[in-house]
Every structure is written in C-alpha cells, then in structure tokens.
C-alpha cells in the first residue's frame, strides 16, 4: 500500500488552506484503509464462529439431506473466498445481502430501522451528558466549598462503577412501575410517540457517561486555570467571567470531545444491555439474536455499519477539533 507510506513528518507547518486540504485528504485515506481492515476482519471472524446456521434454522430433527439442501440454497457450501468475493461485490453496490434466518428480509431493512433507534438514544445521551457535564464539572472545579466538590466527585465515581443494566432496572422499577411516569419498555414507531419510550433508557446511559465527562471537565478546567495565560488575561483587566467563558470553556471542550470519541464504541456496547432491559428494537437486540443464530450477513452488516459510524464520528470530531484549536494545525 504505497499510498500510505509517508516521508518523515515536516517539523514546520505550512500555513493556509493547502495544509488543511492535505490533512483532509490524508485523513480520508486513513479512513478508507481502516474500513477495509474492518470489513475483512468482520468476514473472517464471522465465519470462524463454530456452529452451523442451517442447524439453528432447521432444528435438531433435521435430516442431513435437508441440512445440505438448505446450505446449498444459502450458498454456505461455497468456498470461503467465493463467499467473500460475492459479499464484497455486493458491498460495492451498497448491497449488504439478505438475512439467513429471517427469510426474505434484506440486511439493510433489518439494520437501518434498528440503527435509527440506537443512534437516537446514543446521540441523545451524548448531548445530554455533555450539556450537563460542563456546568457540573465547572462548579466542581471552581467552587470554594470543598464538600460540594467532594460530593460531586464521589457521586460520579459511584455512578461510573454501577453497571448500566442495574441503573436501568432500578429506573424501571421506581419510575416506570411505582410512579407510572414512563412506559415499561417497548417502542411506539412514530416520531412523537417514541420520546415517551426514550427518556428513561437515555437516563440509564447518561448515568454512566455523565460522571466520566464531569471528571474530565473538572480536570481540564483545573489545569487550564493554573496555566499562565489565564492569569495573564485577568491581570490585563479582563473580567473574570469572560476569561472563564472564552478561554477555559474552549480548552475544556476539547478533551471532552476526545473522551466522547473514545467512548462511543463502549457506549454502543452498553446500549445493547440497556436495549435488552427496556425491550427497545435497537441494534443491540438484532446483534444478540443474529450472533446466537449465526446469521452471518446480518452480523457482518452490523459490524461494518457501526464501525463506520464510529470512524466517521471520530473524523468529525477531528475536524471540529482542528477548527477550534489552532495549535493542532501545526502538528502534522
């Protein structure tokens, strides 16, 4: 892959749009390589799974003849390379294939509605956590009342240590069952109605992500405050709150983005658990059932699509980061 070989990084920046364009091109290239690796790994991994989907579909009473016939129909008897070729060929046309277990449904019709549900909750959780983390983290860092800081930090640590399914179940019991303030799981199917089913699972996820973000914000606010340019700004007579908003917040936002980016993969993992507890028709439910049934095309599809989202998410964060923080433009 000669295109990825690069010469030693230049020490000095080349200012202006040419370096940005070059950076964008390089990042896009990296993205493609990453995705290709993921597709290949997904295919290999899925076909290494022991167990025969034909047996799962037909059950234990199936005769060897019927098993063989089914596997012929599903092209499972073709060579691995042949199956890989067919799959890649389909991918290039945007065709993710058809489900083995759910006869007649294409992988795309199975994945995308489910993905919509999951990403809705994940994005909502990220936004809510970020919005809440900034004021709380700021308060913890800036307060003179030591107990408040201590309380916030201990609360955060405890919350992080509690697995999301426990939080989810407790919420179900207390809020949905006892108080009747939310439905006990399920999905409406129409945009407006879905909000009623969303907010409780979102809280379960926020309970896990928010404390991490609070601690990150607090840490970076503390650090930034100690740095000399803040003192320089205040000694120049700039009002304290202006310093707070423009300098500190901006510098705290960046580690926040980083941590969120690193956590997206894990967040999707915990969403799987939360979806099980709240019976949400998300990608987690689909993933579990397709892995246990060895529904190869669906598993591959899920891996590729979620990985793509994570990679793209990190890319967007990168772009945002680069735009906000001029220091990074000089790093090549």
């Amino acid at each position: 892959m000669a295109t990825t070989l690069r010469t030693r990084p230049k020490r000095r920046a080349q200012p202006g749009s040419r370096s940005t364009a070059r950076w964008l091109a390089s990042r896009a290239q990296q993205l493609v390589v990453t995705v290709v690796i993921i597709v290949l790994v997904a295919f290999a991994m899925v076909h290494l799974l022991p167990g025969d989907p034909a047996v799962t579909i037909l059950g234990v009473q199936a005769t060897p003849q019927s098993l063989h016939a089914l596997r012929e129909q599903l092209h499972l008897n073709d060579s691995l390379l042949g199956q890989l070729g067919a799959y890649l060929g389909g991918l290039i046309h945007g065709d993710l294939g058809g489900s083995i277990v759910q006869q007649g449904r294409s992988v795309a019709t199975l994945i995308f509605p489910a993905l919509g549900v999951t990403m809705w909750i994940v994005l909502l959780s990220i936004v809510a956590s970020t919005v809440l983390a900034i004021p709380i983290g700021l308060a913890a860092a800036r307060t003179r009342r030591h107990l408040l800081d201590l309380g916030i930090r201990i609360g955060s640590v405890i919350l992080v240590a509690i697995p999301p399914f426990v939080v989810g179940l407790v919420l179900l019991l207390l809020v949905a069952l006892k108080l009747g303030a939310a439905p006990t799981g399920g999905w409406a199917g129409d945009f407006l109605g879905d909000w009623a089913y969303l907010w409780l699972p979102t809280i379960a996820l926020v309970a896990h992500l928010l404390p991490t973000l609070i601690l990150v914000v607090r840490e970076s606010v503390l650090e930034t405050t100690q740095q000399s340019f803040v003192e320089a700004a205040t000694s120049r007579g700039l009002p304290r709150h202006r310093v707070l908003v423009s300098h500190i917040t901006k510098n705290s936002l960046l580690p926040l983005i980083t941590v969120v980016g690193l956590n997206i993969g894990g967040l999707i993992g915990f969403t799987v658990v939360v979806e099980t507890v709240f019976s949400l028709p998300g990608i987690g439910a689909l993933l579990l059932s397709s892995v246990f049934a060895r529904d190869y095309p669906v598993i591959q599809g899920i891996v590729i699509v979620t990985a793509l989202i994570t990679v793209l998410g990190n890319f967007v964060a990168d772009v945002f980061y680069r735009a906000v923080d001029p220091r990074t433009r000089s790093m090549q």
Binding site: R6, R27, I158, L288, V291
Partner: protein
C-alpha cells in the same frame, strides 16, 4: 500524521516550564497526590484482602444450598440467600476475588503491550510501521467491542475451568485485552512523540546511546505516568464491562460467583429480594471509589514529578 484527537488524548500534557517556588513548597509539589494514590490503592487492596480472607471464616461455601431461597438478611446470613438458597454474603466476597484480579490483570496486560507498541511505533526509524500501527489502532477502536466479545466467547468457548480459575475467564481476558490495548498505544505514542524530538532525547542520540537504552531509561519513565493513571481508571471500566457480560451470554459462567453474574441473576428479584443484587453492587461501588481515588492521586503525583524534570 497525528490526528488531532491523539494530540488531546494525552492527559496532563506538561505545560511549558515556569519558574516555580523554591525549597519546601517545591518538595511538597512533587509529592502532592501521593497520599491519594496510596489511600485509594490501600482501599482496593483492603477489599481484595477481605475477599480472600472473609470467606475463610464463613461456615458456608459458595455453592451449597444452605437456606430457604430468597431469605431476608439475618444473623445467620448477613446478606440473605439467593434464589437457590445459597449464602449471598460469602458469594459476594468470593466474587470480588475474580473481579478485582481480572480487572488488575486485564488492565496490566493492556497497559504493558499497548504502551510497548505505542512507544515502538513512535520511536521507529521508518514511519511505515507507525502508520500501520495507527491504522490498526483506529480499526480496533472503531470495531464494536460487543461483537468482538461475543465472537471470542463463542470461538474460545465458555467450557472449561482451569483449576481455581472459573470458566469463561480466558475469553474475558483476551476480549478485554483486545478491546483495551489500542487506547494505551495511542497515549504512549502521543507522549513519546511529544518528547522524541525534544532536546533531551537529542542529547542522548548525540551521545550515541543505543535506541533500546533510550527507550527504557529515558522515554518510558516520562511516558508511563499518564498511561498508569489511565490504566487505573480503565480497571473500573473493565469491571463494569465484565459485569455486563452475562447479558450477552458471556462473562464468568455460573455457578462461579462474580459481581456481574450475581447482579444479573439477582435482577429478577430486585423488587422484593433486593439483597441478592445489592451485596455485589455495594462491593463493586466501593472498589470503584478506591480505584478512582488512586487514579486521581497518581495523575497529580505523576504530573508533579514530570514538571520537576
């Protein structure tokens, strides 16, 4: 080409050197955070010690059916019994051994190998290896960890327990390692890059030190600080991930107790037999606090030490 994210991924980048206070205050600065680090570690070790020692004093074993199912906590059973009539108190502590040891081991392996790879990539003569590693790291971080864990459990099999090691552990360790090493690689690489082209390292080059010596005696000590701090917080994350695994049909297999599978099996009885899930949850939360305090202390201590150089 460093991504902007990697640049920010390094926690506590040493700020530009500034004239500091002298004498005693300086000395105090270098050790600030050390007491937190010690206190936190002490708490975790205390819990681990309790997990090893307390069951030895209990009249019950973790697998015998010693009472009526779902009994309230009482003098005989400090945390009541579970749905099969087993003593929850003793199980919760035995479970702690597995969780704490798995977390420490998992984090340590990910730390060692990830950091090693990250430093090597940054110090490599040919940037090809650096690129390659970073693309693999990107792919690993983007790959949904859930799928990897599910696949690993199925491929490796939850089957056997090796002596005192409960069933399911090998696949957990491998899964944890595979999903966690990448971030360590990124951190280590970013840290190494930051100091690689600095004067300090250039001097060693001029002096003719071998690359290996430079890595071990000069690069690593400066790089390891943030990595270890992240490793300690990672330990908490690892415990939470392990405890959520039973939902995916993975994790430490019953009947071997583990905080996660105890909470998972106890979740059905949360409404009226809450003690089954509470005992492991409590111990888990306390361990989390200890690890968090230790991590924070370590970060402060390490950055203070680095500033001093």
């Amino acid at each position: 080409m460093t991504s902007a994210i990697e640049h920010a991924a390094m926690p506590a980048t040493p700020p530009p050197a500034e004239p500091g206070p002298s004498g005693l205050r300086q000395a105090r600065r270098h050790t600030r955070g050390r007491s937190s680090a010690i206190a936190g570690s002490a708490l975790v070790l205390a819990i681990l010690a309790a997990c090893i020692i307390v069951p030895m004093f209990s009249p019950y074993s973790t697998s015998d059916f010693v009472g009526t199912p779902l009994e309230h906590p009482s003098g005989a059973h400090l945390f009541g019994t579970d749905d099969l009539g087993r003593d929850v108190f003793v199980r919760a502590f035995v479970a702690g051994r597995v969780d704490i040891l798995l977390a420490i081991t998992g984090a340590a392996i990910a730390l060692a190998i990830g950091t090693g790879l990250g430093v090597s990539a940054a110090m490599a003569r040919r940037s090809f290896w650096d690129s390659l590693l970073m693309r693999i790291v990107d792919a690993v971080i983007a790959f949904p960890g859930v799928v990897l864990i599910l696949a690993l459990v199925l491929v490796i099999g939850a089957a056997t327990s090796y002596g005192p090691i409960p069933a399911g552990v090998p696949s957990i360790l491998i899964a944890v390692f595979v999903t966690h090493w990448a971030v360590f690689a990124r951190i280590a690489r970013a840290q190494t890059l930051a100091i690689r082209d600095g004067d300090y390292i250039q001097v060693t080059r001029v002096l003719g030190y071998s690359r290996l010596r430079v890595v071990f005696r000069h690069v690593l000590p400066n790089v390891i600080g943030p990595s270890v701090a992240y490793a300690i917080t990672d330990a908490i994350r690892i415990i939470v991930v392990i405890s959520s695994l039973p939902f995916l049909g993975a994790g430490v297999e019953p009947p071997a107790p583990e905080w996660g599978n105890m909470m998972y099996e106890g979740r059905v009885y949360l409404a009226d037999a809450w003690w089954v899930a509470l005992a492991p949850g409590l111990l888990l939360a306390m361990t989390g606090i200890g690890l968090a305090v230790a991590a924070e202390g370590f970060t402060t201590w390490a950055s203070g030490t680095r500033k001093a150089r």
